[in-house]
């Protein structure tokens, strides 16, 4: 039966929107936003889009009007009542009321702030400047919009069946990965693929396939949830995540002296510890070098639940963490190690084999779950690429990120040199940045 009303309603759509909700974002963004809202409400930060894959000339692929239309549409979004209820009422990691009433009241009235868009050298210069807790919420939607507009640009000229087969191939690939993961005894894995996803519907499909293929961890399966709040809400699964580099980056940029700078990453975690317990107490140690960060860490940090390894050689990072826990009198077997950098099945299998039993192992699988379209169209035009949106300055001072991979370093050269000195960074091994 033809549903005429639906057809007529669809005809009225101005735009096929990419971002449909303010909670179509990573859970840790909302957690960090609440932390910033409380601890740094007046800090002015500038976020900037950075396409590390220069050969992909986004401004030539994506129509500027369409991009503005999508960004403007996202600016019009407000938190829906059900979304607010879900945030207020849900249990995350067993803790109720993770989002405080004052934060929720603010967020219920929030809309994304203005953006600045220019074109330069075939690339979009897209920046967001304003109060940190407001502009930070642009990061994930901005990335998701650009990724999906690029997918749409590439798929536009394809025929109906050609398209169906494109998705058939991509589905088969994801499913084969899931089948391979099934063979890993005791696996724990989550979707971390919002920011560089092929598209919203595709991420939603991947999450549901993970749920069916691996089973929900609550029912003894291996799938622990998704970082995407909207999908977590709609599919009734756990929203997962903790914190990210932007916190130490901004805290560091605000430091007034070298000593202050050296202490900044720990101040982030001290603020965090005030608010959170359990699975949210996960150390992200690599912003200015994992090894030095842990060596200099205060003892209370060794009591945290675990660590997230997000750059460099992941096995080496985990071994450093294990040694550190031992040196602080902690039993690594009680500790959680979350791997989240450039994962795919082989790497997951390898890391699991190496660390299962020695620590509690978990994986946050990103781009190669939600955007592995490599090799599926001519010129590999749908392959994922390295697009990020980072805090580049705070209160007018540039931010710096070093990480455990010099190719992921960012910031002005003289500041990078200063940070390397302050944080005692020696020679670093370089690793290819896939996505």
């Amino acid at each position: 039966m033809l549903d005429i009303a639906t057809r007529v309603y669809n005809h009225k759509w101005q735009i096929d929107s990419i971002i449909r909700s303010l909670i179509d974002t990573d859970f840790y963004k909302l957690l960090m936003c609440q932390s910033v809202f409380r601890n740094k409400p007046d800090t002015v930060v500038k976020f900037s889009l950075i396409n590390r894959s220069k050969d992909i000339r986004l401004a030539e692929l994506i129509d500027e009007d369409e991009l503005r239309e999508q960004l403007d549409y996202a600016r019009g979004l407000k938190l829906a009542r059900g979304e607010s209820t879900w945030m207020r009422g849900n249990t995350f990691y067993g803790k109720r009321q993770m989002f405080r009433p004052d934060f929720m009241e603010w967020f219920e009235n929030f809309q994304l702030p203005p953006y600045q868009l220019e074109v330069k050298d075939g690339q979009y210069e897209l920046t967001f400047e304003g109060r940190w807790h407001e502009v930070m919420l642009w990061e994930i939607p901005a990335l998701a919009i650009l990724m999906e507009l690029r997918s749409r640009a590439v798929t536009q000229a394809m025929g109906r069946f050609e398209l169906q087969v494109l998705y058939a191939r991509a589905m088969t690939r994801v499913w084969e990965k899931i089948e391979a993961l099934r063979g890993i005894e005791g696996l724990r894995i989550a979707d971390f693929g919002t920011r560089r996803r092929h598209g919203f519907l595709w991420q939603d499909w991947c999450v549901q396939a993970m749920l069916e293929g691996l089973g929900d961890v609550a029912q003894g399966g291996a799938f622990t949830g998704t970082s995407n709040c909207l999908i977590a809400m709609r599919r009734d699964i756990e929203a997962v995540g903790t914190n990210a580099h932007e916190l130490p980056m901004v805290y560091a940029a605000l430091a007034q002296s070298d000593a202050d700078l050296r202490a900044a990453p720990y101040r982030v975690l001290a603020d965090w510890q005030d608010e959170h317990s359990g699975n949210l107490r996960i150390i992200l140690p690599d912003t200015y070098g994992t090894e030095g960060f842990l060596q200099r860490a205060p003892d209370w940090l060794a009591g945290w639940t675990g660590i997230r390894i997000d750059s460099g050689d992941p096995a080496r990072g985990a071994e450093i963490a294990i040694d550190w826990w031992k040196s602080r009198g902690e039993d690594p077997r009680d500790k959680l190690v979350i791997f989240s950098d450039g994962l795919d099945v082989d790497k997951i299998r390898e890391l699991h084999a190496q660390f299962a039993g020695r620590v509690k192992v978990s994986f946050g699988w990103g781009t190669l779950l939600t955007n592995d379209f490599r090799g599926l169209v001519p010129d590999d035009a749908l392959a994922p690429f390295s697009l990020v949106c980072k805090a580049v300055s705070a209160d007018g001072r540039p931010t710096v990120k070093l990480s455990d991979n010099p190719r992921k370093a960012m910031g002005p050269a003289e500041e990078i040199a200063r940070y390397k000195r302050v944080f005692d960074i020696g020679t670093q091994d370089a690793f290819e940045v896939i996505v």
Copy 2:
């Protein structure tokens, strides 16, 4: 928007029917039916289901009640007005009014006759006995019902995403075949895959994929149409086909002497020639051995449009036909050779390379288009298998088929021996029957 009416309507379905229309059948069945309706209206024929793949124990896989339900549903079907209009009004191969008014009047009131169903040794014994032009219309629906019930039995326990990936894999496979076929210059190919299709919706998908991937022959593409009338009507493409072995088999069974038997296959074509011209004048020479059939053929047959090669070594069959045309003073380059036996991409490419330019080449692609699920589920439980539904007797006398492959021979042993003698069949090479 939820279409409540559709949902409620769907709830009322008694069964998810496999055969939805009397024209969900091969075009040549209807052409032959009309011929029989005119020339042999009183002949009583018995059709019988024969599963040549004994290891597939259909009666253990498929529930008998479900089978009866589907067969009974098919018996309730009557020609719809639009279907009748399509049959009466359509141009087939440029000829209007291919179906005569007296035949259409009869067909408009037709319903499938009763069936007999028993279970023996894990197999269904399904037979249809009655007037030839009535029971013959069971062949295709009976096969399609059994094939699809088997598909449903195997897929029943699969999860939603597992199922989606199953079809994703199958779609990818079909599309890769189509992409490979695109590289063959001057290709002409049709869908002949109704009888042993995986399912109706799947055949419909395959046909549409062929249409998009190869292009309609009317617009310069390689896709010449489908044998399935319902799909041809719905997708607005050409219905294709001519005649099959059942005509010579029944004519032969009715023969009263050896001399009469020897002449029977030519009487079939003499009757056919009265009714049809052009692309419908296609010789199917292999029922009792291609070589002898052509040697003994009357000269008027050499004037026919072409030949269909449906058993034995197809290249050898085509060479025999070319030699025969030359011996009768015909130019083979004006003649059409249709290959239709056990085709897949490699075989199509090979035959096209060997014969393009020497004759007009065309392909009727069957089971490995519409049911290539080989290797896609455990135990290969969705692989196509060799199920046929044949006329086994006519007016109480057994039918015999020899073909150019002894493994496809059928009939009582003493009758086979007699037919081999009458038709001068020497030693035949055996070929594996894939589907």
